[in-house]
């Protein structure tokens, strides 16, 4: 039982990080970034390449630091190439889905070409096992469980207190009023995308330390994130976070008791059931 909860909390933390990034971009820009999964993958690979002897061999902390900086840059470039040209155009929503899918295809295959398909792994930040309340877990798991909420709280504080955080929320809630306050919309879009990419990269580093690093590692987490944002309602950060943990716990419980093959069915059925009752997700909004 304890290991199920640990697994659920770990996955939930990672899903929350991923889904928050998606939700942020959706709220502020009104577009959905299908390349979010490959951003996750890029964060993991960047950290790996800088830290691992097969790459630059500079050690784990250098790798993580480099990855974070890289993600900010990657997010901005992605935004400039695949999103910005279409913001404000009539079919923006659908087109950006397509451009980001194309971007994901490009980057995943680029990673495949550059690094090959063989599994790699990131060193763990903390090693060894820890026992809490009678349940043994990797120390890295505990780190993730503690770190993710800290990061998410920082995100929430950023959005609530900082000038740029307020600007992001303002654009999401009333873009015309935001413009009339002199909010630099273009700059805010960049910042939003950068933060989103940063969150994805951190999730990637976490997954890399716990599981394996492959070019397609971002696909399954992205799919889970889809369920999370539909469940929790796009644009609602609290809803997204709660949904992430709920879905992760359901997934962990179902995997343990029913088996991994049936888990997608369980998750999907739960999703359908919730959507029948609340078409806007758990805490979602009916107007964007």
């Amino acid at each position: 039982m304890g290991s199920v909860i640990v697994a659920g909390l770990v996955s939930g933390s990672i899903y929350a990080l991923i889904a928050s990034g998606l939700s942020l971009v959706w709220g502020a820009l009104g577009v959905f970034n299908f390349a979010h999964g490959v951003l996750l993958m890029m964060g993991a690979f960047a950290a790996w390449w800088v830290s691992d002897p097969a790459g630059l061999g500079l050690g784990l902390f250098a790798g993580i630091a480099a990855s974070l900086i890289f993600m900010l840059a990657a997010g901005s470039i992605l935004y400039a190439l695949l999103v910005r040209p279409w913001i404000g155009t009539p079919a923006a929503e659908l087109t950006v889905i397509m451009t980001t899918i194309a971007g994901a295809m490009f980057l995943e295959n680029l990673a495949l070409y550059t690094f090959g398909a063989r599994l790699k792994a990131l060193d763990q930040i903390v090693t060894g096992t820890v026992t809490i309340a009678g349940t043994a877990m990797h120390a890295q798991n505990l780190l993730v469980i503690i770190l993710a909420p800290v990061l998410l709280c920082s995100l929430a504080l950023f959005l609530k207190l900082s000038k740029h955080g307020l600007a992001i929320r303002a654009i999401a809630q009333n873009s015309e009023a935001a413009r009339l306050l002199g909010i630099k919309v273009e700059r805010t879009y960049f910042i939003t995308f950068g933060v989103s990419a940063l969150l994805a990269g951190i999730a990637g580093v976490m997954i890399g330390g716990l599981f394996n690093i492959t070019p397609s590692m971002g696909n399954d987490p992205l799919l889970r994130a889809f369920l999370v944002v539909v469940f929790g309602g796009l644009g609602s950060l609290p809803g997204t976070i709660i949904a992430a943990y709920v879905i992760a716990l359901i997934e962990a419980t179902s995997s343990y008791y029913i088996g991994i093959y049936w888990t997608p069915v369980v998750l999907f059925s739960v999703l359908i059931a919730i959507l029948l009752l609340r078409p806007n997700g758990l805490l979602g909004r009916s107007s964007s």
Binding site: W26, F32, L81, L82, P85, W86, T89, A91, E93, L94, T95, I97, M98, T99, I101, A102, G103, M105, F106, N109, L110, L112, Y113, N219, L223, F226, L227, V229, V230, L234, Y261, W262, T263, P264, V265, F268, L271, I272, L275, L276, P279, N280, G281, S288
Partner: protein
């Protein structure tokens, strides 16, 4: 350009298309090209039908390609495990997929645009998970092998390299005819009305849910036929068909061909299938090239390839009127 003249041009084009369809299989010499042609044509059916929901109705249905794949599995399971006679299994596939499309529509269309995309996307993954888990029924990750060849009056279509070609062409022609009629009917107009100004359309008495459910079902019928034929052609139904890269490829055909055109996706399907095949030697780089092409086209030819043709036609007719008036 009077409506009567348009009508004559259209009939002329149809006759030309049928003529080409009759002649082409005889012209393409090698088995490789014929195989490519069959794939391209079947994908063209899928891509052009996707235009109905994506382009005309404005629904982000990401389960479209899954319907194509499910039809193949229905046919495979029906013929292999249940002993359903051939050709009847095609009909069965259409019925099952149609019902599934209706169910998906009823469930998913209560949601707002982007959520439909996410839910239908997740639905495809659900299919994959289900299919892989039910090894006994579906052959698991390997796929279900042994789908019988289609036969006409004792003649096995697989024995002649051109037969499936003709069959695929017939399906494409029928599908395109169906789509064109549908799109220009009152039903088709109501879809566009709902897409462009939902509130107004509803206030004029159009039932949003009913029309959209019908659109989803209508757009799944011919892809189901194509999917069934695909399984018979390959002799196997495999979960690869639900892969993200195939969905992306077919979505590219629909978008690059030009939404709300029907013909655009057909053209794009043929071009993209050929290009993907020709670039096979490039390995994974080919997907990178395709990805770049997609973004470039979306950027500089947002109406798709078909709009490029329309633009040239408009430019030429303008040049002609200038000549006649000057």
């Amino acid at each position: 350009m009077t409506p009567a003249r348009n009508k004559r041009i259209e009939i002329g084009l149809w006759i030309a298309a049928i003529a080409v369809a009759l002649v082409l299989p005889q012209m393409l010499g090698t088995g490789v090209w014929r195989n490519l042609a069959v794939l391209a044509i079947l994908f063209a059916v899928v891509a052009s039908n996707w235009d109905l929901t994506l382009g005309y109705a404005g629904i982000f249905n990401f389960a479209h390609v899954a319907f194509f794949g499910i039809a193949g599995y229905v046919s495979a399971i029906a013929t292999i495990h249940l002993g359903v006679p051939i050709w009847l299994d095609v009909g069965l596939a259409v019925v099952v997929v149609g019902a599934l499309a209706a169910l998906t529509a009823v469930l998913a269309l209560r949601l707002r645009g982007i959520y439909v995309a996410l839910v239908t996307f997740a639905f495809v993954q659900l299919c994959v998970a289900l299919i892989i888990s039910q090894k006994a029924l579906t052959g698991g990750a390997v796929g279900l092998v042994g789908v019988p060849d289609l036969e006409l009056f004792g003649f096995r279509l697989g024995s002649d390299g051109r037969s499936y070609f003709y069959l695929a062409e017939a399906v494409l022609l029928a599908s395109t005819f169906f789509l064109r009629r549908l799109v220009r009917s009152d039903f088709g107009l109501s879809l566009v009305a709902l897409r462009d100004n939902e509130h107004y359309a509803i206030s004029r008495g159009i039932s949003a849910t009913r029309q959209r459910v019908l659109a989803m079902v209508a757009s799944s019928l011919f892809p189901a036929v194509a999917g069934s034929i695909y399984a018979h052609y390959l002799i196997v139904a495999s979960p690869d068909i639900f892969s993200f890269s195939l969905t992306t490829l077919i979505l590219s055909m629909t978008l690059l061909g030009g939404t709300s055109t029907i013909f655009g996706p057909i053209l794009a399907a043929i071009v993209l299938t050929v290009v993907t095949e020709q670039l096979a030697s490039f390995g994974v780089i080919r997907f990178m090239i395709i990805a770049v092409l997609i973004v470039l086209t979306l950027r500089f030819l947002p109406g798709g390839i078909w709009s490029f043709g329309e633009r040239i036609a408009a430019w030429r007719s303008r040049a002609q009127t200038q000549e006649t008036t000057s």
